[in-house]
Symmetry: C2
Subunit: 788 residues, 2 copies
C-alpha cells in the first residue's frame, strides 16, 4: 500500500512538517472525513492538517474537450470570453479600490473616535478613565476580530499572502477563498487594526482582493442561481489563477495607492507563473483601482468622511521637490542597509520562534486562541498608554506648522497627552496614533526638531517587539505596516545621529529606514522600491532606495530566508520552488516514484472504477489500451478523478467491452466537466449505482487527456522538477526506459518533489553534504543561493 | 533526405520567408561556406541568409559533467562563481553607464558645433553657405556611419532590439554580438544621430550593452590571452543569456536614465525567460548604471563638457510639482489614446512597407546601400533647413524665460533662424535642434504660447514621415526617439486644440502624446509607463499615462502587431512565441516530425561519427544502447555535435567495441566542453584522422546527456511547444507510443514549431479557418489574441 501511495499520491496533505498521518492506511477515509480548514496561521506544528489539493493548470486535451473548446467556436463566443475576462478584471479592480477605501475609512474613523474620546478625557485630567476607555475599546475590538476569526473562518487569520502565494503555486487549501473568509478578513482586519495593535492591513487586503477575484472567477453561485452561461468559460483553474494574480496586484495597489508597485509585487513575490499578457491585464486592474481610489478620496476632500482626514497611507505624499544628495549621504545609507539587513533577519528569526510558541497555545482550543489575543491586546494598550509618560514634554514649535499644536479634540499629530498647554508629547505623537499616522509623522520633511532621540529609541524598541508579538494571534494581520513603521523609526534615529554630516532631512532617512527593513525582512527589491516611491511620490529618492535595498537584502540573505517563505514552511504548504536542489541532480525520477499504480483500461468496468475511486484518493489515473484495442499495451492518456465522477454520475454506460459508437459531445456538455469552485467536490460516496450498472463498461477514450506530459524513468529529478514547475503540472507520467515493461511505471505529483518525501525515501541523503546545505545547516551556502 | 532533414534539422537558416535553399541537398556544405552575416536589417527578403543556430539553454546532465559541475565543488569555487557573476553585472552596469554618457556627450557636441556654426553663418546672412555647411556635414557624418556599417559590420544596422530579443529567445545569429558590431554600433550611432537624421539612440544603446555583456560573458579572448580561469564557469549559454538580459536592461537605463524602466523593458519586451533571481540582478545592474551616469553628469555640471549643456534626454526632468487633473482632462486623454493607436499601427504598417522596399535596394550591393543613405540624408537636410522658412517669426516672450531669446552663438532653443532680432522662429526651435532638445522643448511646462499651431502641424507631418523613411538604411538607428518626438508633437497639438477645456499644460499633453504613440507602435505598457515617468520625473502623471497607454495599445492591436515582432518576422528570425496557435492543437508531434533520423550507438565507430557529422548539419544525436550493452534497444541519451567534435579531437579512442574502463574525468577537463563564444565553432573539417583511427570506437556514454526531455509521438503539438518554450529547449526527443518500434522516432527542434514548416508539411491547414486567422487574414481575431 505504501509503495502505491508513493507512486500515485496526490492529495497533498501538507503533513510534511507536522508529521501527521500521511502514510497511514486509513488515509483515504481520513482525507474525506476532515473537512474543517486549519491551514491558516493557527494550524502549524503538530496539528491535524487537512487535504490540500493541487490545481489543474495543465491544458486537458481530450477528444471531447477539443471539440468543445472555445477556440474552435465562433468569433462571437471568443468575443464573449474576451469581454468576460476584461470585465472581470475591471470588476476586481473597482471592488478592490472601493474595498481599500472602505477599510481605510473605517479604520480612520473607529480609531479616530477612540483617540478623540481618550484625549478629551485626558484634557479633563481623567487619566484613569482615559486609560480604561482606551484599553477596553481596544480589547473589545480585538476580541471581536479574534472571535469571528476563531469561530467563523480560521483561514482568515494572519497575513494571507502565504496562502495566495501557495494558491498561485498550485496548492489549493480549502476555504482560503471562501465568502466567509472574505467577510472575516475585511471586518476582522478593520477591528484589529482599529484596536491599535501593531499589525498591518496590506496583507489582509491582498487576501481579500484575491478572495474577490476567486469568487468572481468561480462563476457565481449555482445554489443562489447567481450564475450565468457567460461565466462557464471561466470554470477552470488556469483562468482563475490569472484572475487571482491580477487580484493580488490590486490588493497592494489599493493598500498603498501604488498601481505599479502592485503589479510588480504580484510579479516578484506572489505569482509563480507569469506571462506578458498577464502583465498587461494586471496593469489594467491596478489602473482601475487607482482611478476608483482617487475618485473616492476626492469625495472625502470636501470633509464628508468624518475623521478620514488624511486618510491613512493611501493619501500620503512626501513631495519635497528638491531632494538632492551628495557623496556624504552614501555612508549613512550604507549603514542603514546593513542595520536593516541585520534587524530584518533577526525579525524573521524571532517571528518564527514566536509563531511556533503561539501555535502550541492556539492549537489547544478556541479559548486559548482568545486568551492569547486578549493578553496581547492588554499588553499593547499598556505599552501605548504607559510609555509616553516616560517622555518629557516639548514646547510647540512656533513656525512651519501645518496643523495646530497641541491638537485638541481631533485626531492630530501633536498630542498634548499629559503635557501643559503649548507643549506636546513627542512619544505620544508616535504611540497615540494609528500606525499610518505615525508613519506619516516620521516621513514628513521639516520635522527634524520635532522628535527627541530618547523618544525615538523607546518607540523603536517598542514597535519592534510589538510587531513581532502581534502577528500570529487569531486575527487578520499584515506584516507590511509594522515593518515600515519600525524601519522608519530607526531610519530617523540614524538621521538624528548623523546630524549635520548629511544633507538629507530626517523624513527621507525614515523612508530609507523603511526600505532597509523591508529589504531585510521581505527580501523583495523592485516591488518594495516602487511601492515606497509611489507611496512617497518621490522618484528622486530612487538611487538611494535601490542602494539601501540591495545592501539590506544581501546582508539578510546571509542569515535566513524571507518571511513569507518561513511562514509557508511553518504552515506546511507544499510550495514548489522554481530551482532544483543540488541533491536532486543525483537522483532519477525512478528513484522517487514507486509502483505498481492504479491504471484503467481504455474501456473499463464500472465496478472497477468505483472500487479504485473508493479505495484511493488519487486524482489522476493513466488509461492504458490493450489488445484488442491496440497491437500491444500502450499508454492512451490520463483521466482525472473529477471527470470519472462526472461519467459515473451521467450513467452513460456500455453493456459490453467495446468502443462507444455514440458521439460523446451529444451526451455531455462542456459545463459537465467544468471545474467547480474551490472546496466544492463531487464525491464517489454521493453516486449510487445499481448492481446491474456496476457490471457495465465505460469508454474512457473520449475523456482521457491524450497529451499528458511524460518523462523517462532515467530522467534526473532536477530536470523533471523544472518541467513540472515551468509548465505547471499536477501529474507527470513516468514511462519505462525498457520497452518490455508496462507502458507507465508511475506518476509524479507535487508531493514527490518535496524534500521531505525524497529524504524519507532516500535517508542516506540526509548524511550527504548537499542535503545539509539544503536544510540550512551551512549558512554560507544560503548566501550563495540567494545570489545564484 | 528531405524527410531526415525535417526530423532532425537544427541549423535554423531563417529561410522561412526568404524562401532560400533550406531543403537543398548541398545544404550542409552551404551552411559552412556562408560566413558573412546578413541577418541584420539589410538582409530581409530574398537575400541569401546565413546559418542561425539555436542556443543550448538546457542543462546538460551527463556522467562527465555531473562530476565536474561547479555545484559539486568546494565552497571556495562556488564563491568564485558567485563573485564573478555579480562582478560581471557590475562591470556591465558601469560600462553601460559610461557608454550612455559618452554617446550623449559626443552627440551633443558634434551636433552642437554643427548647429552653432550654421547659426553663426545665418547671423551673418550667409544663408546659402549655412545650408551648404549644414547639408555637407550631415552628409559626411551619415556617409561615415553608413560606410562603416556596410563594410565593417552589416549586423550593426538598424535598432538591434529584434536581434537581442531573438538571442534571448534562443536564436544565435552570427556576429550580432561581436567586437566589430559593438564598435560600429557605437561610432555609427553617434555619427548617424549627429547627422540630424530622425533616428534614435536607445535601440543601438541596448544592442551595444548587450554586446558588452556578451563579450564579457564569453570569458575574454583566448587569442589575445585575455582569458582567465575564473571565467570558465561562464562558458555556457545559460549564464550568458542571464548576463545579456541584464545588459539589455542596462541599455534602456543608460539611454533614458530610467533604471526601473530598464528592468521592466527587459522583462516585458526583450527577454523570453525570466526568473525572480534575474529581477534582482538586473535591478542591481541598472542601479550601477544610474550611479555612474549621475556621477558623470555631475562632472559636467561644472561646464567642462563643451556643448553637453542640458545633456540630451538623460538629464531631462519635468518637475512641475503640482500636476492636478480633473474629469475634464479625461476626454482629451482618451482622444490622444485613440489617435496614438491609429497613428501607431499606421506607423508600423508604413515602416514595414518601407523596409521591404529598402531591402530590395540594399541587397543590390554596397553602392546601393550608400546611395540610399545619401538620398535620405539630403532629403532630411532639405526638410530641416527648408521647412522653418514657412513659419512666421514670433516676438520673443518677455517673461518666464530660462534662457536668452533668441539664442545666439550657442545651441539654444529659441532659434533666430531667418528672423529679425528679438524674434524667433518656433519651427526652427523644433527642426533646427537635436531630437532630444526638440523633445525637451515640447515637454517643457510654461511654454503654452511659444509654438504656433501651423508650426506644430508641419513639424508633426515632417517627423512622422522622416521617422519612417530614416529607419532601414544601413546605419545603427533606433525607433524610440522618433516615436517619442512624433507623439509629443501631436500631443501638443491636441493640447492646443483643447485650449481652455483642459487644466493640463501643453507640456503634459506632449508627454501623453508620446505615451500614446509608444503604446500604439511598441505596444509595451508597464515599461513605457515607467520609462516616461522616470524621464520626466513625475509620478503624478501615472494615472493619465496608464489610461492613454491602455487605449492606444488596444486600438493598435486591432490592426497589426508590434513593431519589433514585425521586424523580427521581416528578418526571418525564427522567434518562438510563448503561446501555441490554435491549429497546433489539431496536430500531434508525430505529424510534424519525420524519420528516419541519425542515431549513434552507445559505443560508436569513429568513421561512422565522422561520416554523419560531415553529411548532416544536425546538432544533436540520440544515443541508443543495444544488446549486449542492454537487454533491448533503449534510448540512452542525447549527444551534441560540439561534444562529439571535442571527443574526435582528443582522439581517446577504443580498439574494440566495449565500454571505456578509464575515468573520463581524467582525460578531459571541464574547459574542453565549455561552449565557445558566439560564432566560434569547431568544424569537422578541421579534424584530421588516420585510417587506423577511423576504425576505432568511442564510448559515448559518459558524454551523452542522460536526461533529454522527451514527448510521446501522440502528444499534441501545442503542448509540446509549451514544454519546448517554457523549459527553453534546443532538442526535444520524440519517442514512439508503441513499444515495438525503435526507441526514438525523431527530434523536434525550433524549426519544427515554426508556422512555415508546419504549413509546408500540412498544406491542407492553409485552407483551414484557424490558419487564416493566424496568418492575419481576419483582423478581428488579432484583437482577441491581444487580449487573451
Amino acid at each position: 500500500m505504501e509503495a502505491e501511495e508513493l507512486g500515485n499520491g496526490d492529495d497533498l496533505e501538507a503533513s510534511l512538517i507536522s508529521g501527521c498521518s500521511y502514510f497511514e492506511d486509513d488515509r483515504a477515509a481520513h482525507v474525506r472525513r476532515c473537512l474543517s480548514n486549519t491551514t491558516s496561521q493557527l494550524a502549524i506544528i503538530g496539528s491535524n492538517l487537512c487535504p490540500i489539493e493541487s490545481l489543474d493548470y495543465e491544458l486537458i486535451e481530450n477528444d471531447f474537450l477539443k471539440k468543445q473548446d472555445w477556440r474552435s467556436r465562433s468569433a462571437a463566443r471568443i468575443m464573449q470570453y474576451v469581454i468576460l475576462k476584461w470585465s472581470l478584471c475591471f470588476l476586481v479592480g473597482a471592488l478592490s479600490g472601493a474595498l481599500g477605501f472602505f477599510i481605510n475609512l473605517a479604520v480612520e474613523n473607529i480609531a479616530g473616535i477612540k483617540f478623540v474620546v481618550t484625549s478629551n478625557m485626558m484634557l479633563a485630567n481623567k487619566y484613569g478613565w482615559a486609560f480604561g476607555v482606551f484599553a477596553v475599546s481596544n480589547f473589545v475590538l480585538l476580541m471581536f476580530a479574534s472571535a469571528i476569526t476563531t469561530f467563523v473562518s480560521p483561514a482568515a487569520a494572519g497575513s494571507g499572502i502565504p496562502e495566495v502565494m501557495s494558491y498561485l503555486n498550485g496548492v489549493d487549501a480549502p476555504n482560503i477563498f471562501s465568502m466567509k473568509t472574505l467577510f472575516v478578513k475585511v471586518v476582522g482586519s478593520i477591528a484589529a487594526v482599529s484596536s491599535s495593535l501593531h499589525i498591518g492591513k496590506a496583507g489582509p487586503m491582498i487576501h481579500s482582493t484575491a478572495c474577490i477575484s476567486s469568487i468572481l472567477g468561480q462563476g457565481g453561485s449555482r445554489k443562489y442561481k447567481l450564475t450565468s452561461r457567460w461565466l462557464r468559460y471561466f470554470k477552470n483553474d488556469r483562468d482563475r489563477r490569472d484572475l487571482i494574480t491580477c487580484g493580488a496586484g490590486a490588493g497592494i495597489a489599493a493598500a498603498f495607492r501604488a498601481p505599479l508597485g502592485g503589479v510588480l509585487f504580484s510579479l516578484e513575490c506572489v505569482s509563480s507563473w507569469w506571462r506578458s499578457a498577464l502583465l498587461w491585464r494586471s496593469f489594467f486592474t491596478t489602473a482601475v483601482v487607482l482611478v476608483v481610489l482617487r475618485a473616492l478620496i476626492d469625495v472625502c476632500r470636501s470633509g464628508k468622511c468624518g475623521l478620514f482626514g488624511q486618510g491613512g497611507l493611501i493619501m500620503f505624499d512626501v513631495t519635497s521637490a528638491d531632494v538632492t544628495y551628495h557623496l556624504v549621504d552614501l555612508p549613512p545609507a550604507i549603514i542603514l542597509g546593513v542595520i536593516g539587513g541585520i534587524l530584518g533577519s533577526l525579525h524573521n528569526l524571532l517571528l518564527e520562534k514566536v509563531l511556533r510558541v503561539y501555535n502550541l497555545i492556539n492549537e489547544r482550543g478556541h479559548f486559548y486562541k482568545l486568551l492569547l489575543a486578549a493578553l496581547v491586546s492588554i499588553f499593547t494598550s499598556c505599552c501605548i498608554f504607559g510609555l509616553p509618560w516616560l517622555a518629557s514634554c516639548k514646547p510647540c514649535p512656533t513656525t512651519g506648522l501645518s496643523e495646530p499644536c497641541p491638537s485638541i479634540g481631533r485626531s492630530g499629530n501633536f498630542k498634548k497627552f499629559q503635557c501643559a498647554f503649548d507643549h506636546y508629547n513627542d512619544l505620544a505623537s508616535l504611540f497615540f496614533n494609528t500606525n499610518d499616522d505615525a508613519i506619516r509623522n516620521l516621513y514628513s520633511a521639516g520635522t527634524d526638531r520635532v522628535f527627541q532621540k530618547s523618544s525615538v529609541v523607546l518607540f523603536f524598541v517598542a514597535t519592534y517587539i510589538l510587531g513581532i508579538i502581534s502577528y500570529g494571534i487569531a486575527v487578520p494581520a499584515g506584516l507590511f505596516v509594522p515593518v515600515i513603521l519600525t524601519g522608519a523609526t530607526y531610519g530617523r534615529l540614524v538621521g538624528m545621529l548623523t546630524g549635520s554630516h548629511s544633507t538629507l532631512n530626517h523624513g527621507l532617512f525614515a523612508v530609507l529606514g523603511s526600505a532597509s527593513l523591508l529589504g531585510g525582512s521581505m527580501r523583495m527589491t523592485v516591488s518594495t522600491c516602487i511601492i515606497l516611491l509611489e507611496l512617497t511620490n518621490n522618484l528622486l529618492l530612487l538611487p538611494l532606495v535601490m542602494l539601501v535595498l540591495l545592501i539590506s537584502k544581501t546582508v539578510a540573505d546571509a542569515f535566513n530566508s524571507n518571511i513569507y517563505d518561513l511562514i509557508v514552511k511553518l504552515k506546511g504548504l507544499p510550495y514548489l520552488k522554481s530551482h532544483a536542489e543540488p541533491y536532486m541532480r543525483q537522483l532519477t525520477v525512478g528513484d522517487v516514484v514507486g509502483g505498481p499504480l492504479q491504471m484503467f483500461n481504455g474501456v473499463e468496468k464500472v465496478s472497477n472504477i468505483v472500487h479504485v475511486l473508493k479505495t484511493t484518493g488519487h486524482n489522476g489515473f493513466p488509461v492504458i489500451d490493450e489488445p484488442p484495442f491496440s497491437d500491444s499495451s500502450v499508454l492512451f492518456g490520463l483521466i482525472l478523478r473529477s471527470h470519472l465522477l462526472v461519467l459515473l454520475k451521467k450513467k452513460q454506460f456500455l453493456y459490453t467491452r467495446r468502443l462507444a459508437s455514440l458521439d460523446a459531445s451529444k451526451q455531455f456538455s462542456y459545463d459537465d466537466f467544468a471545474k467547480r469552485g474551490s472546496g466544492k467536490h463531487e464525491t464517489i460516496e454521493g453516486i449510487e449505482l445499481t448492481a446491474e450498472e456496476m457490471d457495465m463498461y465505460i469508454d474512457l477514450h473520449p475523456f482521457a487527456n491524450t497529451s499528458p506530459y511524460t518523462v523517462v524513468e532515467t530522467m534526473s529529478l532536477a530536470k523533471a522538477l523544472i518541467l513540472f514547475r515551468e509548465v505547471g503540472l499536477r501529474h507527470l507520467l513516468v514511462i519505462p526506459k525498457s520497452t518490455s515493461r508496462a507502458p507507465v511505471v508511475g506518476i509524479l505529483t507535487r508531493h514527490d518533489f518535496t524534500p521531505e518525501h525524497i529524504l524519507q525515501v532516500h535517508p542516506f541523503l540526509l548524511r550527504s553534504r548537499w542535503t545539509k546545505l539544503q536544510l540550512g545547516k551551512e549558512n554560507l551556502f544560503q548566501i550563495f543561493k540567494g545570489f545564484i
